[in-house]
């Protein structure tokens, strides 16, 4: 009987050992030039942020009243100087630190808290689901910009308060995605099969639910980074996030707006940085989404 069974399987025996999931994703991602460029830009920005003290030509805090608002291209000041005579290039370089931090941190905090809420609601179901998700819906009902402004306005200006308010803004959308993906995974055969093989509820959630849910949630959260950066810049622009003299792109946009008519190019620089960063994160997300084959 064994002999009768064996011959049909020969074709499979010759197949080379297959690559893992992530190396397949990476292979597909690499073939997408737009996504690769976006990734390159983001890596570059991160490097700039990390290496800021080494590559910035001047101290970003030291100004000089005699050389205020020089245009880009001034000798010694490649991108000119701002309204207090501080070197623009150095401030943009240092600004990458706070701006990236303000963009990425709230999203990761929200990813953590939001998926915990969503997965719990989706897996437990019933009254727990109703309670959690309706609460989330109430927060979700506020327009995100208004909510961020209201929250940080109520808590007072400052980096930490800005981070907290942005995190609260991003929890609802992530929790909702996590809940819907979990609900669909929960009823799949392999979860039932895991239960049938004696796995406990915790290990099912940890391995089978999170393993299948984190990919889509992560990709969605990546797309929020761009939004978060813009919101954080917005808060700083309104004086609610980062406070002067810290270099942050949104804040620089605010303080430079007085010079809009005398040095328009100078005013546009922080905005250009925000634009480049957020569009890179968006394009990276698109590339990841198609490489991971997530239909959303």
């Amino acid at each position: 009987m064994v002999q009768a069974v064996a011959p049909a399987m020969i074709d499979d025996a010759t197949i080379e050992r297959s690559p893992g999931y992530w190396s397949t994703v990476w292979r597909r991602f690499r073939r997408d030039p737009v996504a690769m460029i976006a990734l390159g830009v983001i890596v570059l920005l991160i490097l700039i942020a990390i290496l800021a003290p080494y590559i910035a030509p001047h101290d970003p805090f030291r100004g000089a009243t005699l050389r205020r608002l020089r245009p880009p291209g001034t000798p010694g000041y490649l991108l000119g100087t701002d309204e207090l005579g501080r070197d623009m290039l150095s401030r943009l370089i240092y600004g990458a630190r706070l701006s990236l931090f303000m963009g990425v941190t709230p999203v990761f905090l929200a990813l953590f808290i939001g998926s915990a809420i969503g997965v719990t609601a989706g897996y437990v179901g019933g009254i727990v689901n109703t309670l959690l998700m309706r609460t989330i819906d109430i927060i979700f009902a506020f327009p995100s910009v208004l909510l961020a402004i209201a929250l940080s306005g109520a808590m007072g200006a400052g980096i930490v308060n800005g981070l907290i308010s942005l995190t609260i803004v991003f929890i609802p959308p992530i929790a909702r995605i996590a809940e819907s993906v979990t609900t669909s995974v929960r009823s799949l055969d392999y979860v039932e099969a895991a239960r049938a093989s004696g796995a406990g509820a915790l290990s099912i959630v940890r391995k089978h639910v999170l393993g299948n849910v984190l990919g889509p949630i992560f990709v969605y959260a990546m797309s929020l980074i761009a939004v978060s950066m813009i919101l954080a810049s917005g808060l700083s622009f309104l004086g609610l996030g980062v406070r002067p003299p810290e270099p942050e792109w949104g804040l620089m946009l605010n303080t430079l707006r007085t010079a809009l008519y005398t040095q328009p190019m100078l005013c546009a620089l922080p905005g250009i940085m925000i634009f480049i960063t957020s569009i890179s994160f968006n394009l990276l997300t698109d590339g990841l989404r198609s490489a991971m084959d997530i239909k959303a």
Binding site: D12, R17, S197, G211
Partner: protein, 340 residues
């Protein structure tokens, strides 16, 4: 076979009701089933007859909030219906394990086959990762997967359908269960692969001394693997007996109808295949009497008034029918030859 005196699995009066609303669905109604040690029973029936519900009840897989289970299920003397928490988790997979119909869906797509088998083993045994991996390799060898070392690192989607079902069987057997439940394990496969999987299951069952319940809607599959057949209709077992008894001398009109609908040699070209008139009943709205009565050619008033109790025809051949006197030798000529 003298296994019935001490069955490994004993189901008595199992009734499963889904949904507590105004119209609850009674998916199972008074199912009695005893599985002997080393015995294979085929549960035969059409969609919605309660085959899978029976299997899932044994593992307590039904959502407790939306289902009500009555009756008793005893496995090796332990009442499964009263198991909770840890005891239930260590019962699932270790004592009773299940092979699912669609291996593509029953295996987690983000883990390799090896990881999944390892996990199943470590749910029950405190052994090192290396030992669990060795067990996974041993299981893949057991189900005759070629180059098993390489297959450990394969994801479910990288395998062929038959290979996946083998891996599924390896997964189910990883914790060395005593009872294997197979929920239409060959339905999703190619005809040629079906035979291989059936042979494999039959072989493993003998080799490991497994007791097995095999759910199928395919009579020829039931004949191939089973010692006994239990025919289900609308949540009740209408006929049980040895394969020979049920196939050679079926006594329930539904079984007779099922057997006569089979297309086999001797049919004349151009003739229609016989079919059972009518359609399966609505489980939320069963007639007061025998559920098959509306489609039955020999139904009498008694059939429509009350549900028939099982009648023992000798040798463990039990039929739930009032009209067994009318069904003697009814289709002996139509029944296919049984060679075992």
């Amino acid at each position: 076979m003298n296994t019935m005196s001490d069955p490994i699995l004993d189901i008595r009066g199992l009734t499963v009701t889904f949904g507590g609303g105004p119209k609850p669905v009674r998916a199972l109604d008074g199912v009695d089933l005893a599985l002997g040690r080393g015995e294979v029973i085929a549960l035969l029936g059409e969609s919605g007859s309660g085959k899978s519900v029976t299997l899932r009840s044994i593992l307590r897989l039904h959502p407790p909030k939306r289902s009500r289970i009555e009756g008793s299920i005893k496995v090796e003397g332990i009442d499964v219906t009263s198991l909770e928490g840890r005891a239930l988790e260590s019962f699932r997979g270790k004592t009773v394990s299940m092979v699912f119909q669609e291996p593509m869906l029953a295996m987690d797509p983000v883990y390799t086959v090896g990881q999944q088998i390892t996990e199943a083993v470590r749910n029950h045994e405190k052994i090192s990762a290396a030992d669990a991996r060795a067990r996974a390799l041993e299981m893949l060898t057991l189900v005759r997967i070629p180059s098993p070392e390489r297959r450990l690192a394969a994801y479910p989607h990288e395998m062929s359908g038959g290979m996946r079902q083998r891996a599924m069987i390896a997964l189910a057997l990883a914790s060395k269960p005593h009872i294997l439940l197979a929920d239409e394990p060959t339905t999703a496969l190619d005809a040629t692969v079906q035979v291989q999987i059936l042979l494999l299951l039959r072989e493993l069952q003998r080799e490991l001394g497994l007791s097995m319940i095999f759910v199928t809607h395919d009579i020829s599959v039931a004949v191939e693997v089973a010692d006994r057949i239990a025919v289900m209709y609308a949540g009740r077992i209408v006929e049980t007996g040895t394969v020979r008894d049920v196939i050679r001398t079926p006594r329930h009109p539904y079984t007779i109808g099922l057997l006569s609908t089979r297309a086999h040699g001797g049919r004349l070209e151009g003739h229609r295949l016989p079919a059972i008139p009518g359609s399966p009943p609505d489980l939320a709205n069963l007639p007061p009497g025998c559920a098959f009565a509306p489609r039955c050619a020999i139904a009498a008033d008694a059939c429509r008034a009350s549900v028939p109790e099982p009648v023992d025809l000798g040798g463990g051949h039990r039929v739930r029918c009032f009209r067994t006197a009318e069904t003697v030798n009814k289709v002996a000529a139509l029944a296919p030859a049984v060679t075992s």
